[in-house]
């Protein structure tokens, strides 16, 4: 467990995380969260999404401000490229989840981080989404995440940070495991 006197500072409030874990162990209802997003079609393949409210700790919660995300497709798909593609948002979600996890685990393990950068690449065979070949899936064939990490730790400890972050990552779990998705029309 992290020592209170630790001089390691990755900007993560580990004490608060540990406190939350203890509180949720005693009151699991408070641990039930709902994350939300809204999306509006603009034109062509351009959409505008917003994220503002969510539910947790037994009540409605709000971000400090409304975050917005424009998604589109690049010009080679005859689109106007007004935003990143939805699948790039998936890569962004995975990268930011894993990287935040690395910082939290590093703080917990008293490892000072100096820099952490990740590059991500997902392979996709477009024959899937275009319906050319039914044997090809729509989604990524695979995703490769490459980290460069400068920290006060042995390589082995850094590898352990990255492995533990995957073990505890929500987006990694969503991407690697099946999830029931229900889409309805109101």
């Amino acid at each position: 467990m992290a020592e209170a006197s630790s001089s390691v500072n990755n900007g993560v409030n580990v004490a608060a995380l540990i406190e939350a874990r203890e509180a949720f162990t005693k009151a699991p209802a408070a641990a039930q969260f709902k994350w939300r997003a809204a999306c509006e079609w603009k034109d062509g393949t351009h959409t505008h999404s917003t994220v503002e409210g969510f539910y947790g700790l037994g009540q409605e919660q709000h971000h400090k401000k409304t975050f917005t995300f424009d998604a589109d497709h690049p010009e080679i798909f005859a689109s106007e490229d007004k935003g990143a593609t939805p699948i790039e948002y998936v890569l962004v979600g995975l990268a930011s989840c894993l990287t935040a996890g690395i910082a939290a685990v590093a703080q917990y393990r008293n490892i000072q981080l100096r820099s952490v950068t990740a590059t991500l690449e997902g392979d996709m065979d477009l024959q899937g989404i275009l319906g050319v070949d039914d044997d090809v899936r729509n989604g990524f064939g695979g995703i490769k995440v490459t980290y460069k990490i400068d920290a006060d730790a042995k390589r082995e400890d850094i590898e352990a940070l990255v492995a533990q972050s995957q073990k505890r990552s929500a987006v990694y779990d969503i991407v690697t495991n099946p999830t029931n998705v229900t889409v309805v029309v109101d």
Binding site: M1, P28, G141, G142, E156, E159, A160, A163, Q164, Q166, K167, Y172, D173, V175, T176, N177, P178
Partner: protein
């Protein structure tokens, strides 16, 4: 525990639903060997005296060992006596059995941690044409339908069953979730010897950072192999067992879905193993033990193919049987004293249960890392019998 209670002249009985070593007699597969070496099964006043201290007992030897211990200590065992309920009374506990009732001042729960095989909820979506067995029900390959077999779980049971079924000539796919890899022999000594000598097994529950987490850690991927070889994912891959990720669910059209996390599951396991070996090497160096054993080395990382399959059609007829080696849960359905937490675990402090006069023994990391091993029973029983005695004394005072 019975031996320690007798030593303290505490009047007691041991209630056993079947014969002594019932679980070993009825709920284990035929070829199973104890995963700890012969020398390591040390019970109070009783240890191995044979010419194969480094060997691993076969099932019948384990049964004989436990039965002969019961004889040696003249344990007051009442066999074929099934406990139906335990409830609190004003003076202690009322224990109802199918052979009559007992009133007692103290109860020691020693019914074990592995009573019910745990199977994931989606098992009911497995097509009816596929035979399903748990590791608890599995006996030998003859019992398993001919054809491809999916073994789910890669700890000690799953890896051994996968290997045995593969050797029976079937195609075996092994679904791998969290597990902890361990070499059987390291630097010429059994891993259990190292863990015992370096104090890893003796580590106490009040010395570790997070005991709740330590109690949840899967058991080591160790097998009592006759040739003392290491059974791990690499050795299974080598003989032709196919590794896939954790079994995550079954889709509407009968397709098994495997997690894309296989690489990380193996990485976590390799890292944990390396940390254990680092600790052993540090201890050996500090104790000046390096000259007596071979030099330190590391096992090659677990080999994972570039793109392990993420799914498999369960309706194609290729897979004829699924064996669930996905862990066990204790059965406390007979326990009517409010000591369980919301996950059904007994709340206790190193085996001292929250209800006065009730004790727990024989579960993972109860008081020490070795608590789940036969070798761990002695120290725990000595501690808990001392506590039990002072509890009885305080009630008399």
């Amino acid at each position: 525990m019975s031996s320690c209670l007798s030593e303290r002249s505490i009047d007691h009985v041991v209630l056993e639903r079947g014969e002594v070593a019932h679980t070993w007699r009825t709920e284990r597969w035929d070829s199973l060997r104890l995963l700890t070496p012969n020398w390591q099964s040390r019970l109070p006043g009783f240890s191995y005296i044979g010419d194969d201290p480094d060997g691993y007992r076969i099932l019948t030897e384990v049964i004989a060992f436990i039965a002969s211990y019961a004889d040696a200590i003249s344990a007051p065992v009442l066999t074929h006596t099934t406990v139906t309920t335990v409830r609190s009374t004003e003076s202690g506990y009322l224990v109802r059995t199918d052979q009559g009732d007992w009133l007692c001042r103290a109860v020691v729960v020693a019914s074990g941690a592995c009573n019910v095989a745990h199977v994931p909820g989606f098992a009911n979506k497995v097509p009816r044409s596929i035979m399903q067995l748990t590791a608890q029900e599995y006996r030998n390959p003859d019992q398993v339908a001919d054809g491809g077999v999916l073994v789910v779980g890669a700890s000690s049971s799953g890896t051994q069953i996968a290997q045995e079924i593969h050797h029976s000539g079937r195609t075996v796919i092994l679904s791998v979730g969290e597990h902890i890899r361990a070499p059987r022999v390291y630097r010429g000594r059994d891993l259990q010897w190292w863990m015992d000598a370096a104090g890893v097994l003796g580590e106490r529950y009040d010395e570790v950072d997070d005991i709740a987490k330590a109690r949840r850690v899967p058991s080591l991927q160790l097998a009592g192999t006759p040739d003392r070889s290491t059974l791990d994912l690499n050795s299974l891959t080598e003989i032709g067992v196919k590794l896939v990720g954790r079994f995550g669910g079954i889709s509407e059209n009968g397709r098994a879905q495997f997690s894309g996390s296989l690489r990380n599951m193996c990485a976590l396991s390799d890292l944990k193993m390396r940390r254990l070996l680092d600790r052993i090497d540090e201890w050996a160096q500090k104790k000046g033990f390096d000259a007596a054993v071979g030099p330190p080395y590391r096992l090659p990382p677990t080999h994972v193919e570039p793109a392990p399959p993420l799914g498999m059609d369960l309706t194609s007829g290729k897979i004829k049987a699924i064996i669930w080696a996905t862990g066990y849960r204790p059965d406390y359905s007979w326990l009517e004293v409010p000591v369980l937490d919301r996950k059904g675990r007994i709340q206790h402090d190193g085996g001292v249960v929250s209800s006065p006069g009730m004790y727990l023994i024989g579960t993972q990391f109860l008081r020490r890392r070795k608590s789940g091993l036969i070798d761990g029973a002695g120290d725990d029983a000595r501690d808990l019998s001392a506590h039990l005695m002072s509890y009885l004394d305080s009630r008399l005072a």
